[in-house]
């Protein structure tokens, strides 16, 4: 059995940032386990720019952003294993992993889960029709295009206006393909505003809101799709179908945190985020196991992934040094306008201001965001617009929380 103080599962943006911050806060004996053949995670295939605007105040491509962190990991000589997949994980922090050398067991004092997310597939949505070639999730098409250098299609329809789909609409257009339509089942786009403008509007690609794909046609390769309007329950309205001849369908219909490894650990999961329930230091319900990045909550910008993961890294060091093991817990609640709030729990023994992240369920205007407890408002701020595509946050000074005994509730009200 190999032993490490800290094992980080996943060498993407979350894993890298947490490794650096854990190292800099005093944990030197770290192992990063990465299943692919390079560090960097999904950033490797995100060759568009716009990464790092918040963190570095400059616009980087995905690989450039990742490289800044990989360089720091290399500089610190932090151990990492590539082409290594974790098969299982126990509550007592024993990891079983597989690579070309065989199956290894690794015992860790603390673990950070940074396994990222996967794309929701056509199958998960139960989209009717045939099952020919030419159906891809947007990220798979992106990998074929940006890593392998191959084009997936010439006449493309995209379902879902998530950011990867929007980025791919532009990418494929620049490569000479025609993107004929983007259909979005919601009455609003789930992507960033800047992506709607730069990836669709600039290329005159039509966005059909309240629409879904009701049928895929084609035996060998896709030949057409039908898109139909949906009612308020998201069911297809019959006789509204428009048939669009095409050879390719991309799905950009949301990301699902990848947490199958946690199934056997008994870690408490949130049905809202599909990630672990965590304290403000990103510790899960199992002591010494932390989570950060897209496996915890789906972020809109990688800059916030890095921020969250640095917090997890420092927290892991604290745990290894026997800090904050006593917990004085208050729960976090939310009102009906929010899809989720994270962290879901506060340990009052951990000093420091707390940044609550959340997403809203609908588009709201003239918003008032409040943190309250037992009817008393402790903090509030205004925001002109909140949309589900963008992660929102509110920071609560620690002195407001220190003496609370009841649940703290984060609410959003709109006019």
């Amino acid at each position: 059995m190999i032993k490490y103080d800290l094992v980080i599962i996943g060498g993407g943006p979350a894993g890298l940032a947490s490794a650096i911050s854990a190292y800099d806060s005093g944990t030197k004996n770290i192992l990063i386990i990465e299943r692919e053949d390079k560090l960097g995670g999904i950033l490797k295939q995100c060759i568009h720019n716009g990464f790092g605007l918040t963190r570095f105040k400059e616009s980087l491509t995905g690989p450039e952003y990742a490289y800044r962190f990989i360089k720091e990991v290399e500089k610190r000589k932090i151990d990492y294993k590539l082409n290594t997949t974790v098969l299982s994980l126990t509550k007592s922090k024993t990891i079983t992993a597989i690579n070309g050398d065989g199956i290894v067991k690794i015992k860790a004092k603390a673990i950070i889960i940074s396994t990222g997310a996967r794309e929701r597939s056509r199958g998960a949505l139960n989209i009717a029709g045939s099952r020919p070639a030419g159906i891809f999730s947007a990220g798979t098409a992106q990998k074929f295009a940006n890593i392998k250098g191959y084009l997936v299609g010439k006449k493309v329809v995209i379902l879902g206006s998530g950011d990867i789909g929007l980025i791919m609409a532009r990418r494929l257009t620049l490569e000479g393909a025609s993107v004929l339509a983007v259909a979005e089942i919601m009455p609003y786009s789930s992507g960033l505003k800047r992506n709607i403008a730069q990836c669709l509007n600039d290329f005159n690609i039509p966005l059909y809101l309240n629409h879904t794909i009701s049928k895929i046609e084609g035996k060998d390769r896709v030949t057409a799709v039908e898109i139909s309007q949906v009612d308020s329950n998201k069911n297809v309205i019959k006789d509204t179908a428009i048939k669009i001849p095409c050879d390719t369908v991309l799905f950009s219909v949301g990301l699902i945190p990848e947490n199958e490894l946690l199934d056997k650990t008994g870690i408490e999961m949130s049905p809202k985020t599909k990630g672990a329930i965590v304290f403000q230091n990103r510790e899960t319900s199992v002591d010494g196991i932390f989570a950060c990045g897209n496996c915890l909550q789906i972020h809109d910008l990688v800059d916030f992934v890095s921020e969250e993961s640095e917090l997890a890294g420092i927290s892991a060091t604290d745990y290894i040094n026997n800090k904050h093991k006593e917990k004085d817990v208050i729960e976090v609640a939310q009102n009906e306008n929010l899809a989720y709030v994270l962290p879901q729990k506060i340990n009052k023994n951990i000093k420091g201001d707390i940044k609550f992240y959340f997403r809203v369920k609908n588009e709201f205007r003239n918003c008032l965001i409040e943190a309250s407890s037992n009817g008393v408002v402790y903090f509030s701020k205004k925001k002109p617009v909140c949309t589900p595509g963008e992660m929102e946050s509110i920071t609560l000074p620690f002195d407001k929380i220190a003496n609370l005994v009841d649940k703290i509730k984060i609410s959003l009200y709109a006019k």
């Binding site: 079983t96 998960a124 999730s137 084009l151």
Partner: protein, 476 residues
């Protein structure tokens, strides 16, 4: 010239092909698609039926009972996963309770062992997720589950290891009798000669019989749609749950699969095409039914939906006999449910009772019934896995993260009989791409591996042969 040509690479053609290789015969399999197992054998419920359902004294009843008894050993020889999980036919009202009695009696008369009717209390203890409205059930302990494409591919692979030859993309369009043999002509004008022909073409068997001059076969098609749930739902039901059958058939079922998924379906819709599209109405019908049959159905863990077309004979029983009008043509057609269960018994019967009367059968002394390797890597012990990885490090590289399938298994599928040559072929042989991301992560790696191993450019790789290319070319 071959002694025997089997037409149709499904479970029936495959199991007959394997049975034939037990004898010193030269045999081949003609398959119209790019790969074997491309029709109804890849898209059905995967149930090993106990045998209470078929009308007594039919071929269906006979071969169901025989096949059920053979399946365990058959699967073990071929290294195919099989579980004897048992099945329950559930009655939800008084009328169905009466029908259950009839079904029980029919089962006894068919010779089904270990059959009994259990009460509501026992049923709910066995399957806590059954609907509160369930009243009683017929428990058949001999019911089981198997993966239909795993079995088909294993049969054909084992037959090929024992000398059978496979021709893919061989769509039979005409045939000529020439003294002692047939000339069988494909769409692209290839010619295969064989003394005896076995027509096991499923939905296409009427057309193929016609090519040989036999117009007696009449085949209909019934489309069945399915929904498949993630292996996270493993344990939701342990047994296969049927509704009480009606005149229309066995109806929609809920069953675990051997790979720990839950399968829901099939619908039953008459069709005269080979279009296997799913429909909004069909998928909704499945959801409606399973929500009546069970509670807390984890439909939010759906990973895919698909459909298959069951070919049935208009005589409503299996057709297993030499053609009356064309000597040397053996029709094995209309093998709808319980065809998968019956397949080992049908194969044995076809060879020992029909072929034997047309040719002298001599045992093939070098026949090896075992297909190697006969394990599923994921389910080996750490020690066994380490031994394999030490010999071949590609077994240590996970390619499909959802199903934990390794590069070694994918390379093996490209190298061993019947060799995979497209992305879906890899999927059916290894399960890479069968999981919750549906190939989102692994398909670029799978395409790469096929390209390297078969030495063909990436843009030539197909999903399932013909015009199903995955990529359209290099970027600018």
């Amino acid at each position: 010239m071959f002694d025997i040509a089997v037409i149709g690479g499904g479970i029936i053609g495959g199991s007959i092909l394997r049975e034939l290789t037990k004898y010193s015969l030269s045999v081949c399999l003609l398959e119209k698609e790019n790969d074997v197992c491309m029709g109804q054998s890849k898209a059905n419920s995967g149930i090993v039926h106990a045998g209470f359902d078929a009308k007594p004294y039919t071929l269906k009843a006979k071969f169901n009972i025989l096949g059920n008894k053979m399946m365990k050993k058959y699967a073990r020889e071929l290294g195919v996963k099989y579980y004897n999980n048992g099945s329950l036919v559930v009655a939800y009202n008084e009328e169905e309770q009466l029908a259950l009695k009839d079904l029980y009696n029919r089962g006894i008369s068919n010779g089904v062992k270990k059959l009994k009717i259990i009460n509501e209390k026992k049923l709910k203890k066995l399957e806590p997720n059954i609907s509160d409205t369930a009243k009683s059930a017929l428990l058949a302990k001999t019911g089981g589950i198997i993966c239909p494409y795993e079995l088909t591919i294993a049969c054909i692979g084992n037959a090929m290891d024992n000398g059978a030859k496979l021709f893919t993309n061989f769509e039979v369009v005409s045939a000529k009798k020439n003294n002692d043999h047939f000339d069988i002509i494909s769409k692209d004008n290839q010619n295969v000669q064989a003394k005896i022909v076995i027509n096991a073409c499923g939905l296409g068997s009427e057309k193929v019989a016609n090519c040989f001059g036999d117009t007696s076969i009449e085949i209909g098609g019934r489309k069945g749609e399915y929904i498949l749930l993630d292996n996270k739902c493993n344990g939701y039901f342990k047994k296969t749950i049927f509704k009480t059958p009606t005149a229309k058939g066995k109806g929609i079922l809920i069953s675990p699969t051997v790979d720990n998924n839950i399968i829901l379906g099939p619908t039953a819709e008459e069709t005269d095409t080979d279009d296997t599209s799913t429909t909004i109405d069909g998928l909704n019908l499945i959801k409606l039914n399973v929500n009546m049959m069970a509670k807390n159905v984890p439909l939010n863990n759906c990973i895919t939906s698909f459909s298959g077309i069951r070919a049935y004979s208009k005589t409503h029983d299996f057709i297993i006999k030499e053609s009356e009008s064309v000597k040397g043509l053996i029709n094995v057609c209309g093998i709808e449910s319980p065809g998968l269960t019956s397949s080992p018994a049908i194969a044995k019967y076809v060879v020992s009772e029909i072929v034997s009367k047309l040719l002298v059968l001599e045992k093939n002394k070098s026949f090896n019934p075992k297909r190697k390797p006969d394990y599923f890597f994921k389910r080996l012990s750490i020690k066994q896995k380490n031994k394999i990885i030490k010999d071949n490090p590609s077994y240590g590289k996970i390619v499909c993260r959802c199903e934990q399938i390794t590069e070694g298994e994918i390379l093996r599928a490209l190298r061993e009989n019947p060799k995979a040559c497209d992305v879906d072929g890899i999927k059916r042989r290894t399960r890479a791409g069968m999981g919750r991301c549906q190939g989102g992560f692994c398909s670029p790696s799978v395409v790469d591996l096929i390209s390297k191993e078969l030495n063909i450019p990436l843009e030539e790789i197909t999903k399932k042969g013909k015009d199903s290319k995955i990529l359209i070319g290099k970027e600018k």
